[in-house]
Symmetry: C2
Subunit: 397 residues, 2 copies
């Protein structure tokens, strides 16, 4: 059984803060700074260009990919890190459409994260072959999969509501229709059990700065099913995905395996920080994480609903249909979230009216959840959100 | 007049090392570690998700872009950082071809860095509209520009030989033919004067880990000519290039200006390190850098040629036709470079037979150049390269 009192101590959490936004940006792992220092001072500073070999910078995208693979049920050698999630989505979808040249529908849903849809839109416009991005409601995805569909591109856990798709079932339907499945695991990796290999998923992508705590702008990851790796042709055919990058040939030849999804020079310092962050997962059973996450989120819903009737649950009530987050609708959600943040309780707001709370069992405790729920109820019950400093909207949260 | 004895002290250079590979990876700026520590401990650690606003992480790609703009003669608001150079090349070429839909030739040369050619190859295959990547010898570029050409895509300074194109003249010919010019400034930014605005160049890209000393895997930059910014349609249409990223609309609408070339979440720690590295350029006149660079490279050539006739100059003899690097051909170039590195003199090797040396006036001194030239001559004259430990080729340099 995972000892979550031990894992909390792995992170720096500021005094007086209850952090329920690790689903946007995980907190600083205590060892990350020492690791960045080592990479900068001992490796970059002392080895200079030699760091690519001596400090194994060049191998890190695959090595760290393998560490992430273990958290998402992926095969060894099927995950590589680099770039951003947006780029990885483009790579996955471009390869998928290349594998289904006779089909023209990309199926997604309105709960997908916008950048996934934007990247698809940009790719389809670039291809200019009459593809259609078909966006349906999340509950209508299964029935919309048919033999016109080239790729089913979904985010496993809806960023806004926490609604969770059934990867196994949708992948099964996707394959029955002869289509390719692409899963964005941004809100899944480190949060809920995922069994990519068991589900036969074709491509998956994700970011590492949420539940994996890799730091702001940490590199993304991409998964390619082993059976597809040799036939997936990279649209973003960069030199580090070349069979022999340092031969400096003029023609591109894709590397074997998932390494072909590498593109340019990877961000070594951010990779090192992510590598340090992943140490937190040693000895952790993701099933324990899931169990605790459900306890925390059920507790939060119960305490909020007992304390106020001014908030409407925007997440599935069934814990099994929900990721590791809970959203409530509130007509002044932005201001109420600002009021909550002013008390040191950090969640976030997602347009148009959703107050979003993420639960990270590695460091969130039941006591924090009770206090956060009580503060939230008090704010909405007493109109404490209705103060000038909470009403102004900033550009970014 | 720039005081280069002052600038050398800004960098950590290991004892006993003469570093002539800053054209591959610049050394560690002494303030970089403190800056990374601040970003990680004070910003990520204490502000958590709030860092995107409070520490201005979200604004950094444009702010740092403006700092780079000043080094390449670009207009304020015309440069943004992020991703890798490979990705930025793809973006520039995709936009260029979109702007010239009736043309099918992408003109480049055999001195272009391979990843630029690979990315073009991947894009053209993805477009599948019969485009041709036409690769000519560097000296034949000017005569190959005609009205069939959609885009002329070149690296300003050849990574292998140091041969330098005339941006103004080739851009003029490009525009006369109605084509779009794309310049890769990987070996130019911080090394040679560039006047993008004065030349009317359309797109430019570059990396920041060479002469700009941004660290391994530092983010790349892209320039879009102000007059083109509103018509350049991003193929990689990510959420941070959206007009309103936090509206979470389902449809993509490009942001105004060069910000539309942003894609996904930028690497905050690497951006901070790069920002610290750019402080070295305060008060530096790039004309002084160029003058000193020519002095150093002329000295190197003269000393090497006086000491041996076993090496053949692979770079232009005319300093005005050369960037800030010099290459010599040697039949056992790989092994000779290993022997040199074993003496603490670090250059690099580029297939098939080139020993490459970069000159960075911010920290390289004439005395270093003399010692490096003497050691190189001794190694090739005495066959000191011919030892088992120097003959084995590693995967990466």
């Amino acid at each position: 059984m995972t000892d979550f009192s031990r894992t909390r101590d792995l992170f720096h959490l500021p005094d007086g803060v209850i952090y329920l936004d690790g689903n946007s940006l995980g907190p600083l792992p205590k060892t990350a700074l020492a690791r960045a220092t080592r990479t900068m001072a001992d490796e970059w500073g002392e080895m200079l260009i030699g760091g690519w070999n001596k400090a194994q910078w060049m191998a890190m995208p695959g090595q760290i990919g393998n560490r992430i693979a273990r958290l998402i049920g992926a095969e060894e050698g099927s995950v590589v890190i680099g770039d951003t999630l947006s780029i990885k989505v483009y790579q996955a979808l471009a390869s998928a459409l290349d594998l289904r040249p006779d089909r023209r529908i990309v199926l997604s849903d309105s709960g997908n994260f916008p950048t996934d849809l934007y990247m698809a839109e940009g790719l389809l416009r670039t291809l200019d072959k009459g593809h259609e991005l078909k966006i349906v409601a999340p509950e209508d995805v299964a029935s919309a999969i048919d033999e016109t569909v080239a790729a089913v591109m979904l985010t496993h856990v809806d960023y806004g509501t926490g609604r969770m798709h059934d990867i196994a079932e949708i992948t099964r339907l996707t394959h029955e229709a002869g289509a390719i499945s692409i899963w964005d695991l941004a809100h899944s990796a480190g949060a809920v059990p995922v069994d990519l290999a068991g589900c036969g998923a074709d491509f998956a992508t994700g970011c590492t700065y949420k539940y994996l705590n890799g730091g702001p702008g940490a590199p993304a990851f991409i998964y390619v099913r082993p059976g597809l790796q040799e036939s997936a042709r990279p649209a973003l055919s960069g030199w580090l995905g070349h069979e022999a990058p340092f031969a400096f040939d003029l023609d591109y030849r894709p590397a074997g395996g998932v390494e072909r999804m590498r593109v340019g020079t990877p961000p070594v310092i951010q990779m090192a920080v992510l590598d340090a962050a992943l140490n937190a997962w040693g000895g952790i059973d993701i099933a324990d994480v899931r169990k605790r996450s459900i306890e925390l989120s059920e507790l939060f819903i119960a305490e909020v609903e007992a304390g106020t009737d001014k908030l409407a649950l925007a997440s599935p009530r069934d814990a099994n249909a929900r990721g590791s987050q809970v959203s409530f609708r509130f007509h002044q959600g932005y201001s109420a979230m600002q009021a909550l943040i002013a008390r040191g309780i950090i969640g976030d707001f997602r347009a148009p009216d959703r107050m979003r709370f993420g639960f990270c069992p590695l460091y969130n405790t039941p006591e924090e959840i009770r206090r956060a729920a009580a503060a939230l109820c008090e704010i909405v019950e007493t109109d404490a959100w209705n103060r000038p400093e909470f009403l102004k909207r900033e550009a970014v949260t």
